[in-house]
Symmetry: C2
């Protein structure tokens, strides 16, 4: 099986550029609208208002050559191995985000506070584990 | 950027077949040995004994055509949208697992209780968010 991702949808957000993004979801991130492509929409039929979900995104603007990096834009601290950071710049730039579902309308989900750039591809949704 | 994953390593586990696997990590899962390929080993230099990590795996034996499924092998209950489940059978079969690092030896990490089949490819490691 070839490890090629197929996008299930995309994110619509008012965050248009990297510099618009707060560094963590709890720093005043806006709500976002998740569009699920028609062929996958049966997969969200049991997602309801109030559901706690994990979103997996493909961070399409990332630099995949990064193995060591600085944390949180602190350019004077020593470099860390990238796997000890949440940097979007990493070999496989997959973002994991948790959110609360605010509403669902057909194949669109309104989700709480998300630091995800507009037009970012969605690759998976999972329930938060209880 | 093509959404093709590059494997950063693989899992060595005593779980050799799907039927060996408990359904959740807290149901007596064994420890596992994570092998990181040489070209990515600088990325784990700051992972230490006791670190809490998330592992992302490529569930290479999954059925990617599944959009609706039953939960936890309960074949009499109604089918759920796959994005409301943690089923490995899903369009982009990426597993998310949390573990504690038991030891690190060069490019090998011993990790606590993991329900991951032997030889499963690793695609990312991230710190658990505080």
């Amino acid at each position: 099986m070839e490890p090629v991702l197929g996008f299930i949808g995309k994110v619509h957000s008012e965050l248009k550029r990297k510099q618009d993004c707060p560094l963590q979801e709890n720093e005043e991130a806006p709500a976002a609208r998740l569009e699920i492509f028609s062929e996958y929409s049966a997969g969200i039929k049991d997602i309801k208002k109030g559901s706690q979900i994990l979103l997996l995104t493909w961070l399409h603007k990332a630099d995949r050559t990064v193995i060591e990096c600085v944390m949180r834009n602190n350019f004077t601290s020593p470099k860390l191995g990238v796997f000890s950071t949440r940097s979007p710049d990493r070999p496989n730039p997959i973002g994991i985000h948790s959110a609360t579902v605010l509403s669902v309308d057909d194949r669109f989900i309104e989700a709480s506070a998300l630091v995800v750039l507009d037009e970012t591809p969605l690759i998976d949704l999972k329930p938060v584990r209880n």
